[in-house]
Each structure stands twice: as C-alpha cells, then as structure tokens.
C-alpha cells in the first residue's frame, strides 16, 4: 500500500465497463507476451544450469563416474522411463553411475528437518556392500559457523565415503570403531544427526528397491 500519498490523482471521468475490461485485457495480453518471450529465452539456460549442478553433485558423491543414468522410482521398481503422467522435474529419481562398463553406485537424494530448516543432500550408495560412497549437501539453512560445518568441515564430509549403512551417529571419542559409526561435529550434533537421519530414512525406503534392481546398460 502507498505510504502518505500527497494528493489525489488528476480527476478522470469514470469509464465504461467495456473500456475497463479492454484496458485490463490489453495489459494482460502485453504482460503475457513479455513473460512468455523472456521465459522462452531463458528456460534452456535455466535447465542447463540445473543439469550442470546435478551433474557436478553426482560426480562428487560417486567419485567421478564416466557417466550416469537417471532411473525413476515407480512404485517398487526403478525404470529408465518416466512413469505415465509424472513430471520430469518432480518425479523421484536415483542416478546410477557407470565407470569402465561396470555400475559405480547410485546417487540418491535425501531430505530431512535440520536445526533451522530442511536440509537437502545427495549421497552415493553401493547396494552390494551397503557402503556409502560420498555425500554432498545441496540445500542448507543451518547456522553459519556451527551447523554449516556439515558441508564446510572436510573431516565430517569425507566420512561419508567409507561408512556403512545403516549409519549410527556417535560423539567424538565415543563409539566402538564399527564400520557404520559416523562421528558427529562437536557443537553441531543436531545438524549432523539430521544428515544421518535423512540418509537412514531414505535408505530404509529405497534400499530394497535398489537392491532388487539389476543394472542394465541402456542400448545406444
């Protein structure tokens, strides 16, 4: 709303409703034209940005595969084709990496409530050995200087390249040295635990589906 309008606008005779509708309609058309042209001009670049960001993340969590395939989660199976009626941007997908002709693990998205807001991350997973291959935080609003160590602390992040699922969070110095223990960040245990929780919950649901899937190189 305007704050302190000094005086009324110059008086204009009240217009007929046809004129009102025509004016608004005209502006609507102009608005539509402008928006659609900018949309058409920018959407290839926006899509390319998103694909590049995802590709970079997958490269990191699967330790540099040669390439990767997108597999959509359809009920209880994975399929390279979109399920009928689903939207490519919102359908749940996992990414199967390939290195030298052999499967190099699955990159899976996970999300869960952290200290401040939802944390979104991508992690690499090898179903044969139940081992994680890497983790990258995609979206985080955790407290700067504390919670944001979940992606700034290299020591914390590189644990995700060796730890085995299901993850068990332990405090620094405690724990029995088991292969599925994950040492939390001192002073940011809630954010660390949120990451662990997100991964465990997602694996509970998707793990069996992935284990049952037989990777097949798509025919060129």
């Amino acid at each position: 709303m305007t704050h302190g309008t000094p005086s009324a606008p110059p008086a204009r005779p009240s217009a007929s409703s046809q004129r009102l509708i025509a004016t608004l309609g005209g502006f609507g058309a102009l608005a539509g034209l402008l928006i659609v042209s900018v949309f058409v001009a920018t959407s290839p670049r926006i899509r390319a940005n998103k694909a590049a960001a995802l590709a970079a993340a997958v490269q990191e969590v699967l330790a540099a595969p040669d390439r990767y395939d997108t597999l959509y989660v359809t009920g209880t199976t994975l399929s390279p084709t979109l399920p009928a009626g689903a939207d490519a941007d919102t359908a749940e997908a996992v990414y199967l990496g390939w290195r030298g002709g052999a499967p190099a693990g699955y990159a899976i998205l996970a999300a869960g409530p952290g200290f401040q807001d939802t944390i979104r991350l991508l992690f690499g997973y090898d179903p044969a050995s139940s081992q994680l291959l890497g983790m990258r935080v995609l979206d985080s609003k955790e407290t700067p200087g504390l919670g944001d160590k979940i992606f700034k602390d290299a020591g914390f992040v590189e644990q995700f390249a060796r730890v085995r699922a299901p993850l068990v969070p332990v405090r620094d110095g405690q724990g029995d040295g088991l292969p599925n223990e994950l040492v939390m960040i001192t002073g940011a245990t809630i954010s660390s635990r949120a990451v662990v929780q997100a991964i465990n919950t997602t694996l509970e649901r998707i793990g069996p589906i992935i284990a049952a899937h037989v990777p097949r190189e798509p025919q060129p």
Partner: protein, 192 residues
C-alpha cells in the same frame, strides 16, 4: 501427524515469519503501537492466510502446472481479489467482526507475509492440509511478534527515551532483541 505439528510450530516460532524471515514488516512497524490493534491485525492475518493457503493449493494443482511462469501474477491477483471478497463477505455476514477487523483487511493485500506464505508453500511442495497448517502457524507467529512488539512499545511510551531516538530505529533494535530471543527456539523438535 508429527510432521504437521512440526510444520505449524516451526512456522510459528522456529522460523517466525517476522522475526526470522523478515516478512510482514509493514504492519509490524506500522500497527504495533497498541496491543489491541496488534492482536486484531494478527487475527485478520491468520484468517487471510488460511484462505490464501487453500487458494494457492488450488492454483498449484489445477492451473499453474501448465504455465509455471504465471505464478507471481496469478498469486498476486488471487490474493488481491481474495482480500476484497473476504472483506465483502465479513461485512455481510458479521458486521461486528467487520467493525473489529475491517480496516486491516485492505492493508493485508500488499503485505509481503501473504505473498511470502504463498511462495514458500509452493517451493516446499505443501499439499492442502500441510499448507493450511503452515498458514495457521505462520499467522500465529505473526500475531505473537506483533503483540510482543506492541506490549513493549506501549511501555516505551512512558519511558525516558531521548527525542532523537523516538522513531523506527528504536523499534527495529527492539525487534533485533526479539529476533535474538526467538533464535532460542531453534532445534525445538530435534531428537537430540
């Protein structure tokens, strides 16, 4: 169910719309002089937010998937029209309620809290029920912030504040203190 409660409480105190997300500052600074007006503004906001949440869900489900770039325009038109309609409806159905809330309703149209609610709800992909819980939580949070600030300002009227400081600067510094206090709510629902 726990998810829904988390959404509501998180929107109300952990990520308070005014003190953490900086939305709804125009009414916060303009209307928070008296506790009673603040309370009424807050309640009017809750009402409009819930109605908006339903409208936004309808838009996102039926209209916008085919034209995502029309999102901003569609939201603002719907919000403006909704507020008009709600105002007329309240005037007809309950003159008493209209007298209590009435003048605040037009002010809500360009209130960034309502549009902010619509956008956050969309970005997080909330369905109908989640959206309504989110709206209620956000409205409650807004009301809490408004009423708290109003109570402090009412006391401030009688305090010995230097003339040069009797303006919005002081209100904002107070808001900073409130915001700092509300940061204590972070991690409320975490299983730590």
């Amino acid at each position: 169910m726990a998810d829904l409660v988390w959404i509501l409480v998180s929107a109300a105190v952990v990520n308070n719309f005014t003190l953490a997300l900086f939305l709804g500052l125009c009414p916060f600074l303009g209307v928070s002089g008296k506790v009673e007006t603040a309370l009424r503004m807050g309640l009017a906001n809750i009402f409009v937010m819930v109605v908006t949440a339903v409208a936004v869900w309808a838009l996102n489900t039926f209209l916008l998937p085919s034209a995502p770039y029309l999102r901003i325009i569609a939201f603002i038109i719907v919000i403006a029209s909704l507020v008009q309609i709600v105002e007329m409806a309240i005037k007809k159905l309950s003159p008493a309620l209209f007298r209590a809330l009435g003048i605040f309703l037009p002010l809500i149209t360009t209130n960034c809290a309502i549009l902010g609610l619509a956008i956050f709800s969309t970005n997080r992909g909330y369905g109908l029920v989640e959206g309504v819980f989110f709206a209620v939580g956000a409205g409650i949070g807004l009301t809490i912030a408004l009423v708290l600030m109003a109570s402090i300002r009412e006391q401030l009227e009688l305090a010995d504040v230097p003339d040069a400081a009797r303006n919005m600067g002081l209100v904002l510094i107070l808001a900073g203190a409130l915001s700092l206090a509300f940061m204590g709510f972070a991690g409320l629902f975490s299983t730590a």
